[in-house]
């Protein structure tokens, strides 16, 4: 139990049962994150990253449902765990930061209300004043000037970057063991992005929390994460240590993603774009979901490729990986 990783996700499957069909938003996803480590999850919009995150903390709402797999938090099974147990873990042991800071804070409640309640929901023995003190310190730590004054403000009085800092402060209030950051910088200016990235990273390192950093931008992952999972159409198509995956991607999709990052292209050459579009996840046919866009696709790809480990620590799902050839 003691040497169980902070989080282990195994064969997680979360489907949405909509009127127009079953959306397999997450279909056999697995990874582990150890204490103090950062796992990056990369994938295009709609690849199932957010649904994966909500599945972990048990916040998938109907018509969605976890239909299979395990979520082990420090060895404890969370799939099917009682709601009261999940509520206790949420916000205290496992915290989440959302994508759009303009939407994550309640517009009609003051910042102090929203912070104090997060402390007292998990420890009713903490008095209002003490909780307020913790909230003020947390705001100070994420670099918000004159936190005492700002505590009495409403969300609309904060800029997007400041709101995301508040959200990070709330997430870290109870010193969680795992922080899930779902594209926390996507909605922000580039300069602010860098600052937020730096703050979040620093804070996690200080507290020793494990972190899952979700993004659609590979370049963010490079300097931040230890390991990376590349998701495509609800599946992990490739995973491994960040440096190795970025230097020598095995999966054609990962190669395509790397090719579309500006800094990795030689100056003056046009960006390589992956041709085609992400397939609709409604009633997705079996087989490799990438085959409609893949240059290497052949008849074999009509079967769903299994997860294999062609090199130690390197997992991927593809019948014709880029083995041997360098990126």
């Amino acid at each position: 139990m003691s040497d169980a990783p902070t989080l282990a996700v195994e064969s997680l499957r979360t489907h949405f049962f909509t009127k127009s069909g079953v959306v397999k938003a997450v279909d056999d996803v697995g990874f582990t994150v150890g204490a103090g480590k950062v796992l990056g999850i990369v994938g295009e919009s709609g690849s199932g990253k957010t649904v994966t995150a909500f599945s972990i903390i048990g916040l998938v709402d109907p018509p969605g449902r976890i239909v299979g797999g395990r979520v082990l938090f420090k060895g404890e099974e969370l799939v099917g765990a009682p709601e009261e147990r999940l509520r206790h873990l949420r916000g205290s042991r496992i915290a989440m930061i959302f994508q759009d800071p303009m939407m994550t804070l309640n517009p009609v409640l003051r910042i102090d209300t929203q912070m104090i309640e997060a402390v007292r929901a998990h420890d009713s023995a903490v008095g209002k004043d003490e909780a307020r003190g913790r909230a003020r310190d947390a705001l100070g730590r994420v670099g918000i000037p004159s936190p005492d004054e700002r505590l009495r403000g409403y969300p609309h009085q904060f800029s997007g970057g400041m709101r995301q800092r508040v959200a990070i402060a709330i997430a870290l209030l109870n010193k969680p063991d795992l922080v899930i950051a779902d594209e926390p910088t996507t909605a922000l200016d580039v300069t602010i992005q860098g600052q937020i990235l730096y703050e979040a990273q620093k804070l996690c390192r200080e507290t020793g929390a494990a972190m899952i950093w979700i993004t659609h931008d590979l370049s963010v992952i490079a300097g931040l994460a230890d390991e990376v999972c590349v998701m495509y159409a609800g599946r992990v198509v490739e995973s491994g240590a960040v440096d190795q995956v970025l230097d020598a991607p095995l999966h054609p999709y990962t190669r395509g993603l790397i090719g579309s990052v500006p800094s990795r292209n030689a100056r003056g050459r046009p960006l390589m774009q992956i041709p085609g579009m992400t397939p609709s996840l409604i009633d997705l046919p079996p087989g490799c979901a990438f085959r409609t866009r893949c240059a290497r696709a052949d008849a074999a790809c009509a079967e769903t490729p299994p997860m294999t480990e062609p090199l130690p620590g390197r997992k991927m799902r593809c019948f014709h990986p880029h083995l041997g050839a360098s990126a």
């Binding site: 759009d100 994550t104 009609v108 929901a121 709330i170």
Partner: protein, 326 residues
């Protein structure tokens, strides 16, 4: 804030003037009260005398001017029928209507918000569907029919509650009579208030349900849950506070129109309110009472709208009164 209120009050004076002219012209157009008031066998001389006594021999613009001058001194004319100040007649009846309307609105909110939120949280469940079905029924059943049914069941069959009047025991406050403060008064108001509440209840259920369904999808609700807050706090603080604004808006307008048009219910339950007075006054073309009544109602709408705007600024920190269009 203060500047805003003063500006709003000045605008309402203009609104009142315009409304008084419209009302005056409208009432003038509907017929000659002398024909109704006077003995049908009276001769022309008697008719002329009566016309002059009521000031109806003057040209219209002069009548209106006299009315304005008197109104500025708080005198809205004397009832042709009762020969007492019209405004006095109305104020005497107003508490009855006010307490009926407020009680009905209270029922609508206290029952409608929780039911609507429940239906909004569980739209697909049998409970949610039944609540919705009931609210559709509440919208479509005619008020007078429901009123008669209430009387049939609770007053006639079961004999639990009285069906007419305000009850003998009323208490006075500032010279006005209220029945809410005695048990007998409460027993009397229950049926008419429920009758009047029916439409409002249905409305509040729909508003709360629609608001809840929209708000629960917002990120901030999910974030509140991700903080590990108990469900009760998520619903009663994070969701509730965000659905109050449309409810307050509609209820403000509803309260106004309930006060103005409680006529049917007042008639069925013989509730001695303004509704009965105005119907009787229209029947006999008692112009001063009609005019005074309509102006009181206009004034009330102005006050309620102002109260709703102030309520916005309390409920939603993003609203600042000074910036708002009035």
């Amino acid at each position: 804030m203060l500047v805003y209120l003063i500006r709003r009050l000045m605008q309402s004076v203009v609104v009142l003037c315009v409304m008084s002219l419209l009302v005056f012209l409208g009432v003038f157009a509907i017929g000659d009260p002398v024909q109704i008031l006077i003995n049908p066998l009276a001769d022309q001389a008697e008719i002329d005398r009566a016309t002059a006594a009521l000031g109806l021999d003057q040209p219209l613009w002069r009548q209106y001017w006299l009315f304005l001058v008197n109104a500025a001194r708080g005198d809205l004319g004397r009832s042709f029928v009762y020969n007492v100040p019209a405004i006095g007649l109305i104020l005497e009846r107003m508490p009855a209507t006010l307490e009926l309307a407020v009680t009905a609105t209270f029922f609508g909110v206290i029952l409608g918000v929780p039911l609507g939120m429940l239906a909004g949280l569980k739209p697909a469940s049998p409970v949610g569907k039944s609540i919705m079905a009931a609210s559709i029924l509440g919208f479509s059943l005619p008020t007078f029919w429901v009123g008669l049914m209430l009387i049939m069941v609770f007053a006639v069959e079961l004999g639990w509650l009285p069906s007419t009047g305000r009850g003998a025991a009323t208490c006075s406050l500032l010279g006005l009579k209220f029945s809410l403060c005695t048990v007998d008064g409460l027993r009397h108001i229950l049926l008419p208030a429920l009758n009047l509440a029916l439409f409002k209840l249905s409305l509040v259920i729909r508003l709360s349900r629609a608001g809840t369904r929209e708000v629960v999808l917002q990120d901030y609700v999910k974030f509140a849950r991700a903080k590990g807050l108990p469900q009760s706090r998520v619903v009663w603080l994070h969701v509730f506070k965000n659905i109050t604004i449309p409810i307050v808006t509609v209820l403000g307008l509803e309260l106004g129109s309930t006060i103005a048009f409680a006529v049917v219910t007042e008639w069925i339950f013989a509730w001695p309110g303004m509704g009965k007075l105005i119907i009787e006054s229209i029947n006999v073309l008692d112009r001063p009472v009609i005019v005074a009544y309509l102006l009181v109602i206009v004034f009330m709408f102005i006050v309620i709208n102002l109260a709703v705007d102030v309520a916005y600024s309390v409920l939603d920190p993003r609203v600042r009164l000074s910036e708002q269009r009035a």
